[in-house]
């Protein structure tokens, strides 16, 4: 796989006065310095010809906050589209740190995007006819189904499929990916259907299609049904019943357990972590047809990953959560929030070590993955100790590249089933042949 890192750092310290003024004016409306913060660093990774963007977590809930259209084929397009991805939004009034503010908004491009956003916000203030515009429909449906998040989910499912110790079956792989994608679209649409008034009140989610009245709730439900039913049917009939059952269960877990629970108890985070862990398990069961230890391990890795990812993100959203009535650890049990994040960073190290024991990967995997696991654990520890905005941001951003990298390393250290049969040499001659067969 290829890695493309696109790092944008703001190095400028000085900010012209009118620029700050411009940003303040823009901030009244939609964006805050947090937005620019996230523009600071964008990561694009290319993994096995899939393009996976990590921009926002699925929660908020699991939510992911994504606005614009997406097409994940071309990297360039991806870079441009990543920009408007909604990250954490917070009212400017909360932050007292003007220095931080100056630091964030210095890049020249930001001036341009601020102007663009101001124009967008002006358009937002107009009255719009509630008529379904057919040419907007693809974009609207993409946002309704949180297409970027869906793409990530499909990537993790593909990773599960790829890691399974069976010969690669392209048809099965495509059917499983499509089915998972459709199931994810359905789940996300229902989630948005349930959360309209709450989404309106949170900065991160207030531009969703149902909130803006671009689509009626009835249509959203019909869309969800028309994605979910074929998706699950495809998985059950085209792949195997176990994968179909897991898909249906995951939809149920996300829409009927996680979404209502977000407003009832902090336990929602654990449920959400399970929701995130199931897709790779589905990928594995699609390939092998059974729930092996390997599937559970992959699920476990993704389960543990959710915590540093989400807890770090939610740290910056406390005001919106509190006002909107969401029960999140970061608001009610901040100490627990950070402890859990750290705990699961360390768990990732443990889980990576178990992989070779279960014959999923060679012993090079825990060794190669140790640096990145240690790094995220270090950031988790900093977050635990410092409990401030900057450490939470660092941890969140780290989680964005950590997962694709971990999965990539895992895949490259995969123990080929051929190698397992000829228990002889693990790394030399056979490796080359095994590699050929492994890669599609």
């Amino acid at each position: 796989g290829l890695f493309v890192w696109h790092l944008k750092k703001t190095g400028v310290r000085q900010v012209p006065c009118q620029f700050v003024h411009l940003c303040r004016a823009a901030n009244d409306r939609l964006i805050t310095f947090q937005y620019f913060n996230f523009l600071k660093r964008m990561y694009v990774t290319q993994y096995n010809k899939d393009l996976s963007q990590r921009a926002k977590p699925k929660s908020d809930s699991v939510a992911s906050p994504f606005h614009e259209t997406q097409q994940l084929d071309r990297e360039k397009k991806v870079i441009h589209k990543i920009r408007p991805i909604s990250p954490v939004h917070q009212p400017l009034s909360e932050t007292s740190n003007r220095n931080e503010l100056r630091e964030m908004k210095s890049a020249a491009e930001i001036g341009g995007s601020a102007a663009r956003l101001r124009a967008e916000s002006k358009e937002d203030r107009q009255w719009k006819e509630m008529k379904l515009q057919l040419d907007d429909l693809p974009g609207i449906l993409a946002r309704l189904s949180k297409i970027k998040l869906t793409a990530l989910v499909v990537c993790t499912a593909s990773a599960g499929f790829a890691m399974a110790p069976v010969p690669f079956d392209l048809t099965c792989f495509l059917l499983a990916s499509l089915g998972t994608g459709l199931a994810s679209c359905a789940a996300n649409s229902i989630n948005q259907f349930f959360e309209v008034p709450f989404d309106s009140n949170m900065n991160r989610t207030k531009n969703r299609p149902l909130v803006r009245g671009q689509i009626s709730p009835l249509l959203a439900v019909c869309f969800a049904a028309s994605c979910g039913v074929p998706g699950i049917a495809l998985l059950t009939l085209g792949v195997n019943p176990l994968t179909g059952a897991l898909g249906a269960f995951n939809i149920f877990l996300y829409t009927c357990c996680y979404t209502p629970m977000k407003r009832m108890s902090i336990a929602n985070t654990w449920v959400g972590a399970v929701v995130g862990a199931i897709p790779p398990v589905m990928g594995w069961t699609a390939a092998t047809g059974s729930l092996d230890a390997g599937a559970l391990l992959l699920g476990g890795i993704l389960y543990s990953w959710q915590f540093p990812h989400f807890n770090a993100l939610s740290w910056g959203l406390r005001e919106d959560y509190s006002r909107g009535g969401y029960c999140m650890m970061s608001v009610t049990h901040p100490g627990l929030c950070r402890r859990v994040a750290l705990r699961h960073c360390l768990a990732l190290i443990g889980l990576s070590t178990v992989a070779p024991v279960l014959d999923i990967t060679t012993w090079t995997f825990p060794i190669i993955s140790l640096p990145i696991n240690l790094y995220i654990s270090y950031l988790g520890f900093r977050f635990y100790r410092d409990a401030d905005r900057s450490s939470s941001r660092k941890l969140f951003f780290c989680s964005l590249w950590h997962l694709p990298m971990l999965l990539l390393v895992m895949f490259s250290c995969k123990k080929s089933f051929l190698e397992k049969e000829e228990k002889g040499d693990l790394l030399s001659g056979n490796h080359g042949r095994a590699m050929e067969i492994r890669l599609p």
Binding site: V196, S200, L218, R263, G325
Partner: protein, 147 residues
């Protein structure tokens, strides 16, 4: 919205509730079912508006009070030399957020339950109306073909 329009119109977010108001179109030949749907949507809109406006205003107010009391406790002024309002950092505000959330928990529970009920009812009614309109249109088409 223009007078000749036959659709609902949705406006910009309300200043207090952040919800977007909808102006509903009343067709001349509105059926009882359609009227029920429209009235339900109007009522829900008003109910939602009231809840969130109250909620957000209370939040802002309590937040100001909290900041004021904390600043006082620290011996600082509400406004510094340049006339800007002094604010507390995120960690200090965390206590307030936690407090506000727990105080409003029961209110949110009731609201959630009501909201889910209303949402389902409205969507179900929408489905019924859509079905009814489709059947009417089919019947009209058949009559048209017959003629």
């Amino acid at each position: 919205p223009p007078a000749h329009s036959c659709n609902d119109w949705i406006g910009p977010p309300d200043k207090y509730s952040n919800l977007r108001p909808v102006i509903f179109y009343v067709p001349k030949d509105e059926s009882p079912l359609e009227r029920r749907l429209r009235e339900m949507r109007q009522e829900t809109q008003a109910w939602n508006q009231q809840f969130w406006a109250k909620q957000n205003v209370a939040f802002q107010q309590e937040k100001e009070e909290f900041i004021y009391s904390r600043l006082k406790a620290k011996g600082l002024e509400v406004r510094d030399e340049t006339g800007q309002k002094a604010t507390l950092n995120a960690e200090e505000m965390a206590d307030f957020y936690k407090d506000f959330l727990s105080k409003n928990f029961r209110k949110h529970m009731h609201y959630n339950r009501d909201w889910y009920k209303r949402n389902f009812t409205i969507t179900f009614l929408m489905g019924q109306v859509a079905l009814m309109r489709a059947l009417t249109w089919l019947r009209w088409k058949k009559k048209d073909v017959g003629n």
